[in-house]
């Protein structure tokens, strides 16, 4: 049964090519970024994501990065679970005061973990709409 069903559901790969085709790849800036990241990060990157006050929209879209269309792991990028070794952590959205201590403790336990990432600008901008609240820390750590 599973076989027949999976055959029915199977089709040509849905996975899409990475954004920005040949033109961008040949640009000097792309080469600089690529070489820099290869030097500091190597060929793979483990990311540990902690929800410290997001609306959960971020989590949904991070999950989506692993679906058949985007398949982030083929680029050596992997969102890791707790027990796995990791090199980078990314917080989501504004950081609530209730989560701050837990987040800091989590970072300390994973000494050497680098914080931040591409989504930092988004985190800062959403943090701005919640910054006035008694329950949200004013700055990201």
């Amino acid at each position: 049964m599973a076989n027949s069903c999976s055959r029915d559901c199977c089709h040509a790969p849905l996975t899409e090519a990475a954004p920005g085709g040949g033109r961008r790849r040949s640009s000097p800036r792309w080469r600089r970024v690529r070489c820099g990241s290869a030097r500091t990060l190597g060929r793979s990157l483990s990311i540990r994501e902690v929800d410290a006050g997001s609306c959960n929209g971020c989590e949904l879209e991070i999950h989506a990065l692993n679906n058949a269309f985007y398949d982030l792991e083929r680029f050596g990028l992997r969102f890791r679970r707790l027990a796995a070794p990791r090199r980078r952590a990314d917080g989501d959205g504004p950081v609530t005061k209730n989560m701050r201590e837990a987040l800091e403790a989590h970072l300390q336990r994973n000494a050497g973990t680098e914080m931040g990432g591409r989504r930092r600008r988004f985190a800062r901008s959403t943090a701005a709409s919640f910054a006035a609240s008694y329950a949200v820390t004013g700055r990201r750590r």
Partner: protein, 509 residues
Amino acid sequence: MPTRIAMIEGQRVEQHRPWPRVVTNENGWGVATDALAAGDWTLLGLWGETDAVHMAVRDHDSGEIAVVTLPCPAGTFPSVGARHPPALRLERAIGSLFGLQATGSPDTRPWLDLGFWGVAHPLAKQTGAPPAPTSYDFLPVEGEGLHQIPVGPVHAGIIEPGHFRFTANGETVARLEQRLGYVHKGIEGLMAGAPLDKAAKLAGRTSGDSTVAYSLAFAHAVEAALEIMVPPRAIYLRALMAELERLANHFGDIGAICNDASFSIMHAQCGILRELTLRAADTCFGHRLMMDGVVPGGIARDLAGGGTGAIAALLAEARRTFPKLVELYDNTASLMDRTATTGIVRPELVRQFGAGGYVGRGSGRAFDARKNVAYPPYGELAFEVAVLEAGDVNARVWVRVREVEQSLGLIEQILGRLADGPIQAKVEPRGEPSEGQVREGLGLVEAFRGELLVWVRIDGDRVERCHLRDPSWFQWPLLEVVDRRQHRRRLPALQQVVQLLVFRPRSLR
């Protein structure tokens, strides 16, 4: 014969719409508590203000909805939770946020306030100094050979925070207690005094997976308060957004539940359907989650040019693949072994707590705000509400499967009835604008997780007070009493019992 709700003594508030609000005394509050404890009414919400507490209730038989208010000048009110346990956490939240104490409550520990805010009772008229740090007393468990397993707030995987305290003897869990509120952002505090457009944005950012439902419930409350007539095209497009959101979440969650039961092909295939739904939403409304699409008065963006085609393609693909996935789910014995008879929630508890969505309908509670409140346009659309009795994970999956099928039909009907016209009404009070006139409204909307309540009081063009009650408030407590006998050998990890396989509820904001 006047119904029991109409018999609550007190002053009817004229500017509260669409359901009545009565300002009562302790006597009337007691009568309402009696009706809740007797099971005649369901508690829809219980929230505070600086000097009053409100409860929203629904009569089982007549379906009437009302808000009962008790002024509490002395800072106390008779506990509802003492006799009706679903109110307990809501009362504790009122205590933490407003400093109003529920007298006679068996549980006076703080809720949401974990001691990090640097202020006590942040929404009270007079905020207090931060309380001295104390340890939180988890409920005592007695017995031999018990040990505690603390889990969270930071979890494995990309999920929301929450703390779970398991007390276990070996693999037998004697008690599970939750401590939530880690992502409490004080949204209701930020809404106080905010202009309507800013408040609408905050409402839409309360929960990303239900952003359409939150925006819709807020819009309903504002429109009720200001007596705004929403144009028909906007009403239908709102329903289209709501059904797309429901589809996307059900697809994602059905896959995730199977994944937690170690059956990943369903996860991958459902992930494709979810992605297609989000892309269709993006094509139609310019945002994958349709955030800020619904605004008070109508919708922000009309259906884009290629929208109808994108939805037709989505419907065709879902109708083609989803039945096969359902068949696969139904015919995989190893998967069934993990979902059937797992995580049984007893029907009487679901009724008592008024748990909504698939949690309620999987345990025999036939309530769906789209049907029972029948807010437009659902009164004009044909759909069925799936109700199952078994109360296990399998029943909840099947409720979702049926809801996917109904949503596909609803979307088709919506597109068929979509007429041209304006999409936005002017957001201003009907009639002569008078200075300082306060208006109040209540919105009740069926989010994918259950019914969502928003209550708002508007002063001029600003929100004076707004309360948003997520369906999870009445689902989380049930997780503590879920039948755990079956879990031991069937589930990969304790945490997945909690977070994923059983309900997939929401962290409390």
